[in-house]
């Protein structure tokens, strides 16, 4: 909402209040003034001149030679405008003047003729050319007769004004018009507000004798009124009105159109004028549109309507889409003689839906959507009638033809006045509260500690006690409210066990050299179902209106996103990347549009884990780098004993370098090398990835710490090297050793794997270090030898292992 500082002074005395101060105070009271502009701030030396003579330039077929009276002197100016003529009063940029765009005017010669200044078009004075009235669009601006010759022209063009751009939200819709702003400003500065009452002179003939009205869509049209106005002379509206419209960002068209716009700006009530002769009947019928009914709107577009839309009709055809835009067929034109003036209330939601569906947000619809002052509908009609009578020399037929309630009763809010202090944490006296509400136009009646506050209809945003708390708070100023801390019951707060473990997981990943990434949850259809921990569902969770195919489907795993980040780095010559992310994946559920959500931990590592240094060559990352990271994590979460790794084949991963990770025998994740084909296609280096359903893991981990007394007896360590077939895995041997050993075996650690000389072609040697311990006594060699023998036998029988000699 653009508010003219000059116009506002029609209603409130702003003496001593600069535009800056006004803007600050309005902002601080709750309506943000987004911009404060001075449309004439770059202009200098523009005066009113009178063209005393205008002849064709002797050496040009389009230039004019003008003698211009500037009051103190008459100068010759060469003017190229087609509409210049003797007798006109015009804005003149004198020699030395500055016009729009910072251009300075100098004495010059055009084809041999001296020119001492420039007769200006509005656009040359910085006015947006979209706002310039049509009659001046291609030429100079021409004043009406009242302007004194020689005077500074800027005040007569309102170029000495300041414009405040108010950001109107749902809560401040009452300030979407000048009267509303005037009330707000009057309250802020505690000054009186003057809203002149319209004075309509009506003819003896009653409008009701000529037109009839029927509202069928009553529940969506609580009030509809029409006036009939005849004998209209369509012309330009007066300069003051044109300038005010332009200041508000509306292009002047003609007196009839301008008046309805002007009243909308002033009262906040959108009006519509139909050319009554073109309307096609004397019967106004307001109804819901038929399905697929069409109307050609003022902007020349053919619109197809639905049964939800409201239309104004002549009994048959639609003449307007209610509250949004009129139809072309009954548009006011230069030859219009009679108008049907509509002032009505339409259901905000209905208007919003229709405007959104037809993609027609208009000045009218945006006001209806945000609701209006119900008690201003009829006065707005009067105001427009008054202005039409004056400026279009029209006859206003007697009375308003209406249906519905013209006014609504004022609402009353009852509350204990102390609640205002309680909610604000302030200590305002009753008088201050009452005075503040009074300034805003609320009437306060007291009854003991209770107040009954009558809310004026223009404050349709105020309905509950909390609204009044806000009204007092914003006027009083939140700066004056103290800063306290909540006094209520003491609450102890801490992270949940899950949150603590998740933080620990983050720390561990970072200590292992992985950097935390945040990637998008929405991805492509292909990526959404790739690299999932559990088999991907055929169904995908898609958003209805994606912004792009890149972000259209909810991810079921994080790994594809991290692969994308790895690729980003490769493209920028950064081959060493180690990343992890903890974030949600979204698992489609059959028969439920809402997916399950669980947090996963994923990682991607590529390049070198240690750079080449003075000590030796760089160490490339491999499967065991990734596995080591996970093992460290599981150990820290005290779940290592419940975890095992099994070779697996998975889409997109290397069939020989991929392990599934099991917790208590159930798959909770995987780790592996990307399939060489995938790497090649994507232009990646060797890359290792993992993903773990960390949420379920963390929720099942963290057993109580069980302290064990330190061993009092020495342990005995025995190493054992076993030669087995290459297909036997470390896990196989580990398992058989543990099973065969019995309770004396305290730990098993693989410390060497060897293939090559002295070992047969398809065999390998694996060496384990075994620690034996009895917490109750010192073990003897004989006891250990017996167990050790059992182990060797078991390995030999079950896995064909032989002791390496």
């Amino acid at each position: 909402m653009l508010v003219s500082y000059k116009w506002l002074q029609d209603y409130v005395d702003l003496d001593g209040v600069t535009p800056e101060e006004l803007a600050d105070r309005i902002t601080n009271a709750g309506i943000e003034v987004e911009h404060l502009t001075y449309p004439g701030k770059d202009l200098k030396g523009i005066v009113v001149g009178k063209v005393s003579a205008c002849e064709p330039h002797p050496a040009s077929d389009h230039l004019h030679l003008c003698q211009v009276d500037l009051g103190a002197e008459t100068v010759q100016i060469v003017c190229g405008a087609q509409n210049v003529a003797a007798g006109q009063k015009v804005p003149v940029a004198t020699v030395g003047a500055r016009i729009g765009g910072g251009v300075q005017i100098r004495r010059s010669k055009f084809r041999g003729e001296e020119s001492n200044g420039m007769i200006c078009a509005l656009s040359e004075l910085g006015v947006d050319s979209d706002l310039v009235p049509k009659e001046y669009a291609d030429g100079i601006y021409v004043f009406d007769e009242d302007v004194p010759v020689g005077a500074d022209a800027l005040p007569y063009l309102n170029l000495d004004d300041a414009i405040l751009d108010l950001d109107i939200l749902v809560s401040s819709a009452h300030c979407m018009n000048m009267i509303g702003v005037a009330h707000e400003v009057a309250a802020i500065f505690d000054r009186p507000v003057h809203i002149p009452a319209p004075d309509v002179i009506e003819t003896d003939q009653a409008a009701a004798d000529k037109i009839s009205l029927k509202v069928e869509a009553g529940e969506k049209v609580p009030y509809y009124s029409a006036r009939l106005i005849e004998g209209i002379e369509v012309a330009s509206s007066p300069r003051w009105m044109q300038l005010r419209l332009m200041a508000a960002g509306i292009r002047p068209i003609s007196n009839v159109v301008d008046i309805s716009n002007y009243v909308m700006l002033e009262y906040g009530q959108p009006l519509h004028t139909f050319d009554f002769d073109a309307f096609g009947s004397d019967r106004v019928l307001v109804r819901f549109a038929d399905r697929n009914e069409t109307i050609k709107t003022l902007d020349g577009q053919e619109r197809t309507l639905t049964k939800e839309d409201i239309v104004i009709t002549n009994g048959k055809e639609a003449a307007a889409v209610a509250g949004i835009m009129g139809g072309e067929s009954s548009e006011v034109t230069l030859s219009t003689n009679k108008v049907l003036l509509e002032s009505a209330v339409f259901d905000p939601i209905s208007i919003r839906k229709t405007a959104a569906r037809l993609q027609m947000r208009t000045d009218a619809s945006s006001r209806f959507e945000k609701r209006l002052d119900r008690n201003r509908v009829a006065p707005a009609s009067d105001r427009a009638a008054e202005l039409l009578a004056i400026y279009a020399h029209a006859r206003v037929l007697k009375g308003i033809v209406e249906q519905g309630e013209r006014t609504v009763p004022e609402t009353v809010i009852t509350m204990p006045w102390k609640k205002i202090n309680q909610v604000l944490g302030a200590n305002l006296s009753f008088d201050v509260i009452k005075g503040t509400l009074g300034r805003l136009g609320f009437t306060v009646k007291t009854e003991g500690d209770t107040i009954h506050v009558k809310v004026p209809a223009r404050r349709f945003d105020v309905a509950i006690p909390e609204d009044l708390v806000e009204e007092v708070g914003r006027m009083y100023g939140y700066d004056h409210i103290p800063a306290t801390l909540p006094e209520g019951s003491a609450v102890q707060a801490e992270l949940t066990p899950y949150q603590k473990l998740r933080r620990r997981t983050e720390r561990l990943m970072e200590s292992a050299g992985l950097t935390q990434a945040y990637t998008y949850s929405l991805t492509t259809g292909d990526h959404a179902s790739a690299y999932t921990v559990h088999p991907a569902s055929e169904k995908q969770v898609k958003v209805i209106w994606p912004m792009s195919e890149e972000h259209a489907v909810l991810r079921q795993s994080i790994v594809p996103q991290l692969i994308g980040v790895v690729k980003y780095h490769l493209n920028r010559q950064m081959p060493d990347v180690a990343l992890y992310e903890i974030g949600k994946v979204f698992i489609p559920k059959p028969g439920n549009p809402r997916p399950g959500e669980e947090e996963h931990l994923a990682g991607a590592i590529t390049g070198r884990s240690a750079e080449r240094s003075w000590e030796g060559e760089a160490r490339p990352v491999d499967f065991y780098t990734v596995k080591g990271v996970l093992e460290t994590l599981f150990e820290s979460l005290a779940v290592s004993e419940r975890i095992d790794y099994r070779p697996a084949r998975r889409d997109g991963l290397h069939p020989g370098q991929t392990a599934e990770i099991f917790l208590d025998g159930k798959v909770i994740g995987y780790a592996g090398a990307l399939h060489p084909k995938v790497q090649k296609d994507a232009g990646l280096n060797e890359t290792f990835v993992f993903e773990v359903a960390i949420e379920s893991l963390l929720r099942k981990s963290e057993p109580e710490i069980a302290y064990r007394i330190l061993p009092r007896f020495p342990s005995i360590t025995r190493d054992i090297a076993l030669v087995v077939d290459r297909s036997v895995s470390a896990a196989d041997l580990d398992r058989v050793i543990r099973e065969a050993a019995g309770p004396l075996l305290a730990s098993v650690r693989l410390f060497d794997v060897y293939e090559g000389a002295h070992v047969a072609e398809n065999e390998k040697s694996m060496a384990f270090s075994l620690v034996y311990l009895d917490p109750e006594r010192t073990l003897t060699d004989d006891e250990v030898n017996a167990v050790h023998g059992q182990i060797i036998d078991a390995c030999s029988q079950r896995l064909g292992a032989q002791l390496r000699s």
């Binding site: 943000e32 998008y520 909810l554």
Partner: protein, 345 residues
């Protein structure tokens, strides 16, 4: 006779020890003079032939000589060992200016750091951390927050809907309704809810279709707007420096009444006006307000008994302001050169 022999032995031994240059040679000397078959032992063996009164004298002397040689050998040994150690240390000298073997430490994401900092602050103020679904029901995302289906501040075009009733949450505020509901009308409720949110925006320097929010909610008997101001003051000073002042400006949100916008005094210029605060001296940080009675009521709290405040902030905005980051996409591109700059954050 024997006496002379012993003294001669002593002198010879002293001479030998003096000429020794290695521990090995010293060991030989030790064996030669003090060994079981050494000359002193020999002397002592021959004692039987001596006169009875001579025996203690010679015995005493032999012991003295043996002791003296032993002491000399020990002294020499210490001397030689010191030399060996000296040589070892010399040979083990390294260039301590060569780089060490660093553990590679990954960086914590800047957004995670900001969120953690806010979490820790609010835990200290008695707020728990509540987390909730990112795919929400329309009811919790809007209706329970006083945004009925036809509310003008609602536009389906602004959110990622999956069906008419299910959407990616456009803010963390649904956790207000969910948490209140879970408390079944009994206060106090003090939570903050950090999490991802989604809006139908085109990604550019200042917009991201996915971003983070932290919601705060405090509902109890007698919670006041001044308490909101106090808590936010603590927050502002903690996050942006002890000298920060805050300012509350009236604003509008459907789920709070009154609603305010919080500004902090500019941390760059201290409030005099600069490019960061666009000359105003103030920087807009977050939106807040007193929980709307409809929100309390819909989630089972009696608004005549309970009041509360709520606030919502954007970790991206906080991080961008704090470090002068120019492009919100940096948070989601995950360029390690970006992320590693904030290891210490």
């Amino acid at each position: 006779m024997l006496q002379d022999k012993l003294l001669e032995l002593r002198d010879k031994a002293l001479e030998s020890i003096g000429s020794v240059s290695s521990l090995k040679q010293l060991q030989d000397v030790h064996v030669r003079y003090l060994g079981k078959k050494g000359p002193i032992t020999e002397v002592l063996k021959g004692m039987g032939k001596l006169a009875k009164e001579e025996r203690p004298v010679i015995g005493q002397l032999a012991n003295d000589v043996r002791k003296a040689i032993g002491v000399w050998i020990e002294e020499k040994k210490a001397e030689l060992e010191a030399g060996v150690l000296e040589a070892q240390l010399e040979s083990e000298k390294i260039d301590v200016t060569l780089p060490g073997r660093k553990a590679q430490i990954g960086a914590h994401h800047l957004l995670a750091s900001v969120i953690r900092e806010v979490e820790d602050l609010f835990i200290g103020l008695g707020f728990s951390i509540a987390e909730g679904p990112e795919v929400e029901e329309d009811y919790y995302a809007f209706e329970a927050l006083n945004l009925p289906k036809d509310h003008p501040a609602r536009d389906m075009q602004d959110s990622f809907y999956i069906t008419d009733e299910i959407l990616l949450r456009p803010h963390t505020s649904p956790m207000q309704a969910r948490t209140l509901e879970a408390h079944k009308g009994e206060g106090p409720v003090k939570i903050i809810c950090p999490g991802k949110v989604y809006r139908r925006d085109n990604d550019d320097a200042t917009h991201s279709h996915q971003f983070m929010q932290i919601e705060g909610l405090c509902v109890d008997k007698n919670v006041r707007l001044s308490d909101l101001k106090g808590v936010l003051t603590v927050f502002a000073k903690h996050m942006f420096g002890a000298e920060r002042e805050i300012r509350l400006r009236p604003s509008f949100f459907p789920f709070t009444e009154p609603s305010v916008e919080m500004d902090i005094s500019c941390f760059r210029c201290g409030g005099h006006g600069c490019a960061v605060c666009k000359g105003t001296g103030w920087i807009e940080i977050l939106g807040a307000g007193m929980v709307h009675p409809n929100v309390l009521r819909m989630s089972g709290f009696n608004p005549s008994v309970y009041t509360g405040f709520a606030f919502g902030m954007g970790p991206e905005r906080i991080a961008m302001l704090k470090y002068g980051i120019e492009d919100i996409r940096n948070f989601y591109t995950d360029d390690i050169r970006f992320l590693k700059q904030f290891k210490r954050a």
